[in-house]
Symmetry: none
Subunit: 196 residues, 4 copies
DNA sequence: TATGAATGAGCCTTCATTCAT
DNA sequence: CATGAATGAAGGCTCATTCAT
């Protein structure tokens, strides 16, 4: 019983994500989402008192899917260089394999606004840069294997590339994906390491 | 008379851009734009028979502002390395100083859709990668100063970083801007050049 | 058990009255009332099969509280003049001390409608004028202490003043209340008695 | 042209009043009002940006009709006693002959609320008591023809009776109306004058 | 007896578009 | 050229009611 309830919530969230990806945040009306879920409009507003609440749930749900995926790769590594390569690879891999969630997050975060027009997710969550910054400091200060660059700006640069891939790659050619991953990993390897 | 008409058109486009940036594409209704322009709603639909047409004009106008700005820097340079540095710097500088246009383009391109939900600007214009690709080929094939990487993927990587800066930087601290430009320029310098 | 059921009913009615007074009849939804009562919406519809039924219960409950209060004062008096003064005073005192119930009645009676828009309590209950009319007839026909006026119109006049006080007086200043009571009592004393 | 625009506004207001009187404030939806006016729903929201704005217009319009009517009677009189009689008679006559407007005002004023449940017209406009208070002071302090009573409370008492007549009298029997007017006028004549 | 789930209608509002002037 | 008027669709939301458990 309780299980069913939870599933219904999640079912709606998943349907919402699907609709958002297909027709965009703006056209992802509660009516459209309900139709996709095969339920009446009231069901959606019953489980989520607001459209805002539903969209927050969409973002949370999508984020929650990424975290374990990313950690898996990071625990197996050692050096700063290896950590950075693993971070980029695991993130890109997640994005390529879960484009749906990534796009949904982007759609919601960049479009959801309050009544007076302010972006709902205006304050960028700086904490997402923390893991990268730690890796950079490890390479610069502890190992001395990284050249001297600003960790914050480099973190933003890396994330820019990762995040943009969610919308850039459309064809799911597996070869393309592996090639792209290895190229980007190499790119930031060269970009960060200290030349002997 | 004709001059007035053109000015009126451009005025509306500029006001539209302002509104789009402030409240987002979705809330940038014709009514809002007309109010901002200080004219009646009819004037807008008179100059632009469609909302779609107005939005296309917004994108064209914004793009048109970028092109001369970019070329100015590129003509003064020589080597592939210098060209790349100039390309990145001029693009970033334009973006930082014309965030309004960049954001407007992003808003419109990523949100404008047809009635059945398809993105209006779905087909990514691959031609924007051409200048970068040419620079990369010059460095790899002619000069031999660049290492061996995929020019297309590298071009997408570079543009990802440039484009994302339009939304990432909020404070207009001039020092921050210069720092960011030099860091990113250096990053891709190291990322592309062949180590001796 | 039965006791509990009754208490639960009355608890809901009291909460409904509170909600009605605070946000008005229209906004006194079953959901709001249930929330105030700290129970699920289903409990309300379980005890009252209808919103209409609940509202009727509200009116009955509120009326029921007034009757004993009014009689207490009336039994101790004698002459028509004294009866009228006691009637007005006791009614005003009840209203001032139980504004909640009075306002709830007014809200429901003046707003509850059938599906086709007809007032539910359309037919004014003429019986509420009876006690006053009897007092007037006593003063006019038996005692000869009252001047010649239409008992029905005077009864409506008196009740108008009494009923309106439920919404007019907002500050609960005790001095104000006593002053108001004595002034109104005097007013109708002068208005009804035969001048020598 | 301008004339037509004004008429359309007033036409909607009048239709709104009619609908409010017939089905009550709550059921007087913009849709219902538009249907009654024989126009599309959008026309109403075009002329009145809000339901609140429309309702304010209803109240203003209704009030505006009362003022000239009341003044006509008051200018012809002299003594405090005559002024009071004229005030009550003219007000009652207006109410009986324009019940529609009076009821509309009552419906709106006692039901229109803000989003958080507060009455829109919460602050009672004390200025409506001013004319009566002036009459009373004239009779008490200047002429000495009125007995000693609280002018404010008496003013509220008189207005209670007048206002309540808007909802109390349903049959338009002309004889009833005249009888009621004369009885109420007499009542407050006796209630205020000083007995010799 | 009690509850959460679901429904469908209705409301206010926003909006792109059309049209007569 | 420009405008105000009007339309109709769609959106988010509230709500009384029904129903299975």
């Amino acid at each position: 019983m309780k299980n069913e309830k939870i599933n219904r919530r999640i079912q709606i969230i998943e349907d919402a994500i699907q609709v958002i990806v297909e027709v965009g945040y703006t056209n992802a009306s509660i009516g459209n989402i309900a139709k996709r879920a095969g339920v009446s409009k009231g069901v959606v507003t019953y489980h989520f008192s607001n459209k805002e609440e539903l969209m927050r749930a969409v973002v949370e749900h999508s984020y929650a899917m990424a975290i374990p995926f990313m950690e898996k790769f990071m625990n197996e590594s050692d050096s700063a260089q290896a950590l950075l390569r693993a971070y980029i690879e695991s993130n890109l891999r997640f994005i390529f394999e879960h484009q749906k969630y990534v796009r949904a997050i982007i759609e919601v975060v960049s479009n959801a606004r309050t009544d007076d027009g302010e972006l709902l997710y205006k304050e960028e969550d700086e904490s997402i840069y923390e893991p990268l910054i730690e890796i950079f400091k490890l390479g610069q200060e502890v190992e001395g294997s990284f050249r001297d660059f600003c960790p914050i700006i480099m973190a933003k640069t890396v994330r820019s590339v990762i995040d943009s891939m969610g919308t850039k790659v459309v064809n799911n050619d597996i070869a393309d994906m592996e090639k792209t991953i290895s190229e980007i990993v190499d790119t930031f390897d060269f970009a960060t390491r200290k030349n002997s």
